[in-house]
């Protein structure tokens, strides 16, 4: 398996030219938010921050699914893992996220059956092989992964597997952008919109947001020249005072998106009000399982009611996710909160802003 074409998007000459164009054009001081955690990681891994001119500040947004998973959702996952005869299946990122008193990783070390899977279909396979157990998949993620989780519920129904359940803590991106703009003290001049999410929902999904706020918005891919190209387009829009909703990732993202995936997602899930860590409840931005599929809903099956959980004292994850603070401004960063012993989810997830700063950013 080779991703050969990706090399073109890492060509140092192309990147250098883009940096030159950005540097020549950028006069106005702007704060751009990259919404997606994969963008944050790519920006750090490629050292893009120290290539672009000082006029441009890059802020990391609420687009790391693990980071915005609310504390009470993590507590609910841990509560389910305590039920008898259960196997919890999850994507790897979630293992270390601390809930109020424990984490999935610690529960696993304490003997609970918690398994990392690479796809929902691995979870279904585990359910098929263990008919005497209840297999729960922890559905965390945005529109990128929600359709495959929806498809797994449809497959379980087709295959007549009745011991497979999903705990849906999914969230959708466009409504979060509205909520961000309403956050007090927010100062964002343009958005680098997520690539993977947009493959599914299409650039069209951001039109209502763009129409209301009329600010520069560009959908970006993940290779260095993808990101630099998008930054250049945002700078052009700013300097020319022609804000627009543009797509710099045309090789993967269309205006309509992946209509089939969206349909499957909407067939199985319906919008719900959910809490985002650090932002609070955003009406309609969650995806709960429709009543028609309630047999597969872990929340109902195990009668879980999400309790009010207090986010850890002093943790600035919320302000970091909304671009109000950078990790170095958090009193816990690198002192109490480290990847070894994380306090907030932004330090745990490989795509979390604090983890990215910790790993790639040297302040001294």
């Amino acid at each position: 398996m080779t991703i050969k074409h990706a090399d073109e998007y890492r060509d140092p000459d192309i990147s250098r030219k883009l940096v030159e164009q950005i540097t020549n054009l950028s006069k106005t001081k702007i704060r751009l938010m990259e919404v997606c955690g994969t963008h944050t990681m790519s920006i750090f891994r490629n050292g893009i921050r120290n290539l672009i001119p000082e006029t441009i500040s890059l802020l990391s947004g609420p687009g790391c699914p693990v980071c915005v998973t609310a504390q009470n959702e993590i507590d609910a996952f841990i509560e389910i893992s305590q039920k008898p005869d259960t196997i919890i299946t999850t994507f790897g990122d979630l293992m270390r996220v601390p809930g109020t008193g424990s984490s999935l990783q610690k529960e696993r070390a304490g003997g609970k059956d918690i398994r990392m899977v690479y796809s929902t279909f691995d979870a279904i396979e585990i359910a098929r092989k263990n008919p005497d157990k209840k297999v729960i998949f922890l559905g965390v993620g945005f529109e990128t992964t929600a359709p495959t989780v929806a498809a797994s519920i449809l497959s379980a129904r087709d295959m007549k597997i009745d011991n497979y359940f999903v705990y849906s803590a999914h969230k959708t991106v466009p409504l979060a952008l509205f909520a961000l703009m309403k956050t007090e003290g927010i100062k964002i001049d343009g958005f680098l919109l997520p690539g993977h999410v947009s493959v599914i929902i299409g650039t069209g999904a951001y039109l209502p947001f763009f129409n209301q706020f009329q600010m520069p918005c560009v959908v970006a891919g993940f290779e260095p020249s993808d990101i630099l190209q998008a930054i250049l387009m945002l700078v052009e829009q700013t300097e020319n005072k022609t804000p627009g909703l543009e797509n710099a990732y045309t090789r993967a993202v269309s205006f309509e998106g992946n209509e089939k995936a969206v349909r499957i997602m909407n067939d199985v899930f319906e919008p719900a009000d959910v809490a985002w860590r650090g932002i609070g409840i955003i009406p309609g931005s969650g995806l709960k399982i429709r009543d028609e599929f309630s047999d597969y809903d872990a929340m109902k099956k195990f009668e879980i009611t999400e309790k009010d959980s207090k986010e850890p004292n002093g943790c600035a994850c919320g302000e970091i996710l909304t671009g109000l603070k950078t990790p170095v401004e958090c009193p816990l960063y690198k002192k109490i909160c480290t990847p070894v012993d994380p306090v907030g989810p932004c330090m745990v997830s490989s795509e979390g802003t604090c983890a990215a700063y910790y790993k790639y950013h040297s302040s001294d």
Partner: protein, 336 residues
Amino acid sequence: MKIDRILLDHGSGGKISHSLTLDIMLPAFDNPMLSKLNDGAILNIGGKKLAFSTDTYVVDPIFFPGGNIGELAIYGTVNDIAMCGGIPMYLSAGLVIEEGFLISDLEKIIKSMGAAAEKAGVKVVTGDTKVVPKGAADKIFINTSGVGLIPDNVDVGSDKALPGDKIILSGTIADHGITVLTQREGMTFTSSIKSDTAPLNGMVERIFNSSRDVHVLRDPTRGGVGTSLNEIAEKSNCGIKIYENKIPLKNEVKGICELLGFDPLYIANEGKLIAFVASKDAEKVLSAIREDEFGKDACIIGEVVSGHPGKVFLETGIGGTRMVDMLTGDQLPRIC
């Protein structure tokens, strides 16, 4: 949140493993040979310098493309001794076998251990076998220990890197870790990559034959090249700069790493070494490594600098700069 149980992360070779060594092991065994925390201990016995090392192998699966647990157990200890500058000579082997394990599989593993010992020029001179009830161990675990003589004029160690040293990497990174990962249950990749498991004592001999100005040798196993370089930067109190586009990486390995969100700099290798060599001898040593059967893709990947002591920086493919930190715990596959 206090960690009160052993987590898998404690075995990752990164910071969490490190804390176990520092907090629990060192206070109990404290002595100057151990506290160096090198791949092996260097002992002075009867006027001779001896390298002594031990390692335990629990790899899952036990058979994988490019090798098996037995070969790995021989080469791993051979390499640890070689990285201390020693000429590996005698090994011990201890087996813990789960009840019900196939004798034919055991034969296969032991035979390949024999062949590996022969290839590396060492002898397995003592051993032990224990059988535990089904479920008390996973198939088979192997411990090997070994000793080797360190020639009089050899003096290498993780604390001996000097500003100006060139850093040579003997070949492509992350092959072993990604091979094993893709073979595990639940991963359905089909790929042609295989483990790089190999003895490196021959390569080390070539290195010393070409230069006496070799300061550090390390085999970047658990925790990968990123973690090894950090340990060297810390112990030698020097800065390290490496160049992303100089680091050899197979396309396939790179593809799988990207898919899972893994950084290949933190993935295990089992047949690669890093050598820190005085700049004047770097090209000579590089040619010597390339002549070895396991060093054909060797490259100079960076140098030791006088700035930012204790830290490793990487110049990215597009000319940016970023820090390379030590691995914390095992890398976890990302959600999207």
